[in-house]
């Protein structure tokens, strides 16, 4: 394994092996496995779980890490090709990224969607430009439309909780004051489909996931016996759900249009997950959310503080699945 950029780069069996390794490292720690190894972490966007869990994961395996946050103690990095750099950015990723890669044994990069041009974000232009400059093991810490570490942690969480492989996975849009990226919904839909689940994407009009993202999830479903469909009918979608996976994202009918998006979402504050969302769900239906979550805006206290909530386990599982990724990348299995 040379890179961990997209769960879709791996066969289903390879993902299952990563999850198995994750469980093994959780049960039987290997405190010297990565002794002397160094992980570089580059955050173009803020982070709490990713920052803490990757540093902790390297330390648990005996390695160490350094963190670079462009624009914060480090100058801004330019990502556009062939630009005349007379603005705020002091350095180009064409220099910055390979230099940082040369100081470490594996590099992780977080670079959110620009949120302006949908085809550009779907093409992962910025992330791919950086990835092409790195000849070391590379980890996607969340890119424009992907978040494979979160997806892997979510899969493990459902295994831990005994969620049926073919259970109903309702990925539901929830309210947020402003547009957020498509990375997590895209990764979650694909992951649940690859797991073999009945994926229902529940979202209001104007927020349909782009066809490219739906198609990608459908290909995964086809390979695993799952299915993928979308709807705006909440009651129907939630009936029989094993998982309600709440997530905020931006309008796709007017992607990048801040005012148009705001107009659409202003009428949708009722899309906050409350107890009554689970009225017709499976008895042990769980709430999932990648965090950070805005309480009583996206999900109500009554749900987050109930036994239904699996959000802390999802976050905790980031640690063990990322340890498995680091192990595979750096231990050379």
């Amino acid at each position: 394994m040379k890179r961990f950029l997209d769960l879709a780069d791996f066969e289903r069996d390879e993902v299952l092996a990563l999850l198995e390794l994750s469980r093994r490292l959780e049960k039987y720690p290997e405190p010297h496995a990565l002794a002397g190894k160094i992980l570089g972490l580059v955050f173009f966007n803020p982070s709490l779980r990713t920052l803490a869990s990757f540093q902790a994961g390297m330390a648990r395996l005996g390695g160490s890490s350094f963190v670079i946050t462009p624009g914060q103690g480090t100058w801004q990095l330019e990502t556009r090709p062939a630009v005349v750099m007379d603005g705020a950015a002091a350095e180009h990723v064409r220099e910055g990224i390979p230099v940082l890669a040369s100081y470490c044994d594996a590099l992780g990069i977080r670079a959110f969607a620009e949120g302006k041009d949908l085809p550009n974000d779907l093409a992962e232009t910025a992330f791919h430009a950086m990835a092409s400059l790195v000849d070391k093991p590379l980890i996607n810490l969340e890119s424009a439309v992907n978040h494979p570490c979160q997806a892997l942690a979510d899969w493990k969480t459902m295994d831990d909780l005994g969620v049926p492989r073919s259970g109903r996975f309702v990925l539901s849009w929830v309210y947020h004051p402003r547009a957020l990226p498509l990375a997590v919904p895209a990764a979650a839909a694909h992951m649940a489909a690859l797991r073999g689940m009945e994926v229902v994407v529940l979202r209001p009009d104007g927020f349909a996931l782009p066809p490219e993202i739906m198609e990608r999830a459908r290909r995964a479903a086809a390979s695993s016996g799952g299915s993928v469909r979308e709807t705006s009918e909440r009651e129907e979608a939630l009936a029989g759900a094993h998982i309600v996976y709440a997530k905020e994202w931006g309008a796709t009918t007017c992607y990048g249009d801040v005012e148009g998006d705001a107009r659409l979402r202003s009428a949708l504050t009722s899309w906050c997950v409350r107890s009554d969302w689970f009225a017709r769900a499976a008895a042990d239906c769980r709430l999932m959310h990648c965090l950070p979550v805005r309480r009583n805006t996206a999900v109500a206290d009554e749900v987050l503080d109930s036994p239904r909530s699996a959000v802390q386990r999802e976050a905790y599982n980031r640690l063990s699945v990322q340890m498995a990724v680091l192990y595979q990348l750096l231990k050379g299995l």
Copy 2:
């Protein structure tokens, strides 16, 4: 020892044992004692000594650490219960804190007083709310009205310098351009009282320590043979002093009233410790201050640069006493 949140949680003998352990670790390093252990550090407020000394202390004992600074590379964290999160904070401590705790073996949290509502700050509402979410060893890196790491370092400093157990400890208010929290004066008064000293709180009118803080120090004094009183008479207070412990804090008669506080303190710029403050003190009277200190505003160069100053030793002792705390929490003595 499960938590280090407040010196008042410990018997005097337990504090003495911590100081003894601190001296032992200073003399006989144990570079592998905490191998494989991870300390998480969460700073809601800025830090220099605490940040550096905890990271160095973990490293000296063979462990490692990660640092999270909400609002800086990490989103802001909401602390109010049951709030509708439609403002700036993207995540609630109810998720953020237990998640961070799940990545490490011990967690340290710094969260200063809000400085608006005195009963609320005295109750340590925000810190206790976070502490209740953590099931790992927890360290108070300075809360609204407490700073036990500083208090322990100050105690060790007086032991190092041979300050008599029953000596006179003058905790003196000094000038600062704006109101600062009560954490250090509260912790210092209690610590000196528990050590058995004659504690004199010297402060101008309007800056009396709240009765709850004075009462707490008096209870400690009662258990150790010390005493606690307060005065606004500087000359009398300083006569025979073994320690002048300078500290800035906000007006308590108009707590949270920025303009009222400013009016009061504007007349008090003469409360800057100068050489003549020591005219009638004990011959070897020392100046203490927890740092950061504003030179020539709170304490004059002539004092800070004289042999009277113990401020650097206090700061240095943060390292060894915190190593003792970490050792007790993580080595399970």
Copy 3:
């Protein structure tokens, strides 16, 4: 070796020994050489390479590090002596620096030129004031007019590339939207002269390096058989060049005068290194730059993306030469 503040503090043979050690550590890693040792890094100015390469270098040698960034998660530090601290800075370096030094085994400090008063910057007033407070091994991570770690990495880079010892080293001013410090040009001119090269400082009128810096380089040249001269004739300077070392710096005829500097440089946007700069250079002439570099402003894509560019190797060599410096300082050779 007690300090690494200035390449001029060392004999040529001592520099050669550091380079030899650097090559040895690159070839034969010593992953436990600095086990248990702690490096403190203080950045008054932003950093990418220095931050990452020092943290990585300590980790490669088995040690660890902590980072303090005054003004960012840590309060601002005052550097002026005898000042009444009633402004923004909460702490003085007279306290902050020795305290941080007391927590670690070696300290690195980055403090750029103020860029207002040339004699003051040439005297390294601020850096020397801090250095005088440190009794631990100390490393200059870039000061007002020096950058010895960069100079050492540049020397190694030329050795790696087989650049003739007596080759022509053209240090050329290049365009930048605003004035940058003299640290790198000063260090590079001195380094190349000490290596024994024919140093040509190529710069437009108004940007001559200060006599003190030229004189220092000339003394180094005298000791090593090199030479140092300056010119504003680009074609003549570049003819036969083995190295074009591009660097941006501020006008010296109106140092600290932002408007005057802007007026001078506005006419100089053609000072961007392009392929035709190498027309009469040596066949294997290389481009060097310390990074960060503004593409198509200071150096064109066509040069940075060509085999002539040695900028990534320079940056990579920061790691190995700094490991040699750390090894010498902390392993006590």
